[in-house]
């Protein structure tokens, strides 16, 4: 993968930024996310999580299976303020 390839399209994070985060100590998808914003956008990592994991595996020389998925937090898909505010009334 080229350095300037965009991995997270929502937040426009490149391979090089992810490698830098790993050099600074990120060891998993969540650590990369905190340092680069990869996976913090509208899709919440659905698109980029696998690619971030591949970069981690390559840089840290570990098998893909060594990496856990990032923590899943509500909502599982984007929800408007209006719908959430009325959740228990419906």
């Amino acid at each position: 993968m080229e350095d300037d390839t965009i991995v997270c399209r929502c937040e426009e994070v490149t391979v090089e930024e992810i490698r830098k985060a790993i050099r600074e100590g990120a060891v998993d998808v969540t650590g990369v996310k905190r340092r680069t914003r990869a996976g913090m956008g509208l899709c919440q990592g659905r698109t980029c999580e696998k690619i971030v994991t591949q970069v981690l595996a390559r840089e840290l020389q570990k098998p893909l299976s060594a990496f856990k998925q990032a923590t899943v937090q509500a909502p599982v898909q984007p929800i408007t303020f209006n719908l959430l505010a009325k959740a228990s009334h419906d």
């Binding site: 937040e11 600074e24 100590g25 990120a26 060891v27 998993d28 969540t30 650590g31 905190r34 340092r35 914003r37 913090m40 956008g41 509208l42 919440q44 937090q73 509500a74 909502p75 984007p78 929800i79 408007t80 303020f81 209006n82 959430l84 505010a85 009325k86 959740a87 228990s88």
Partner: protein, 390 residues
């Protein structure tokens, strides 16, 4: 691994990294020990406020002003994009019942030296046009700012590393070690022993558990707070907006706010914070429910409802994520930044509740001054651990 340092700092959150930074600046040999990744606890589940407006007028707000000045220097000297923006912040006054309390707050903060303004009537909507039409006033503090809290932690850690600090993530301290006189001589960790004659405990809500093992009681309790993250969207407001009632949920007392009982039960108060990336964060909740960091969906619902009360135009904006963090609460809402008299060489820097990001620079500075035995930048009596002895 055996390693020898002058000072071991326990806790790789905002407080531990600020202390490591200021000590390293003074050429002190520091090891920073963190059981997980850097910024993976409370500092990775918060917002990025540098606020004086919500501090008790007096010592509390003076401490914040000192911290803001240090932060201005950090923004210049730390080679990391901190996403720092100084746009000021406002408190929204909901109704006539709140107005006298809000005006009193404004007056006392102004007298304490903060750059305050009180906006009423049309001025409110000239300042923030999308606020609900029935609110009646705004209290503004022009010096308040925000930044990316995780970037500040990583920036401080990288800056410290570059001037010689040892950074030890994924290393859990299992015990603080004392010599035959009771003085601190190091720590045991999951990766071996480390020695130092000074140890700073900066582990936030996890501080009491480590302190009690050396016979020290630290009155910090985890106070859980939730945050909603909204998608990138046209901004409902241009800067930090909090309901005045936030001060009531923070300092206790619920008079002066007409809300459903369950809002008060979970300590819900609207806090809006725009980020530099075009998203915004919505808070807040405050409750004592132990160490559980999972989101309570009912609390998230109440927070969304409270946000719409102040910003009806948010209704069609999407929420993309939620998270919760454990804020280290002390009984008097001030942090503990203090030596531990009973254990020579042991220091505590914890208990900042929701003010850790804003107060980190002054905390780091004060701790480095205390350890060097120098006069401190501000009086530290109100921050001493023994203030809780009775």
């Amino acid at each position: 691994m055996t390693d020898k340092a002058d000072v071991i700092v326990i806790g790789g959150g905002i407080i531990g990294s600020a202390i490591t930074y200021y000590l390293s600046q003074e050429r002190v040999k520091v090891s920073l020990v963190e059981r997980g990744d850097i910024a993976s606890g409370t500092s990775g589940a918060c917002d990025g406020n540098i606020l004086a407006i919500d501090k008790m007028p007096g010592y509390d707000s003076q401490l914040t002003l000192k911290s803001q000045k240090l932060l201005d220097e950090l923004v210049e000297s730390v080679d990391y994009d901190l996403e720092y923006a100084q746009r000021g912040s406002v408190l929204v006054v909901e109704d006539e019942q709140q107005e006298p309390v809000a005006r009193d707050w404004f007056t006392r903060q102004k007298e304490a030296g903060l750059p305050m303004r009180y906006l009423a009537g049309r001025e409110v909507f000239e300042d923030e046009p999308l606020l609900a039409r029935d609110v009646i006033g705004l209290v503004e503090c022009a010096s308040d700012a925000s930044l990316n809290p995780m970037a500040l932690v990583y920036g401080l850690v990288e800056a410290s590393r570059s001037i010689g600090a040892m950074i030890r993530p994924f290393t859990e301290v299992t015990r603080i070690l004392q010599d035959s006189t009771g003085a601190v001589c190091g720590v045991n960790t999951t990766r071996g022993m480390m020695s130092a004659n000074q140890v700073v405990l900066a582990a936030g809500v996890w501080t009491p558990a480590l302190a009690i093992a050396v016979g020290v009681i630290v009155p910090i309790k985890p106070r859980k707070g939730h945050i909603l993250v909204a998608e990138q969207s046209p901004r409902p407001a241009r800067r930090k907006v909090q309901e005045f009632g936030y001060l009531l949920t923070k300092f206790g007392g619920t008079e002066g706010r007409r809300v459903e009982a369950e809002m008060d039960r979970h300590g819900i108060a609207m806090v809006f914070e725009p980020t530099e990336h075009g998203n915004f964060l919505i808070g807040s909740s405050r409750e004592f429910v132990g160490f559980d960091r999972r989101c309570n969906h009912h609390v998230l619902e109440l927070m969304a409802r409270r946000a719409l009360r102040f910003f009806p135009t948010m209704r069609d904006i999407h929420i993309i994520r939620s998270y919760a963090g454990l804020r280290p609460h002390t009984p008097d809402h001030l942090p503990i930044v203090s030596p531990v008299p009973a254990v020579p060489g042991l220091y505590i820097a914890a208990g900042h509740e929701g003010d850790g990001i804003g107060l980190a620079p002054i905390t780091g500075k004060l701790m480095s001054e205390m350890i060097a035995g120098e006069p401190t930048s501000i009086a530290t009596e109100p921050l001493k651990l023994d203030r809780f002895d009775s």
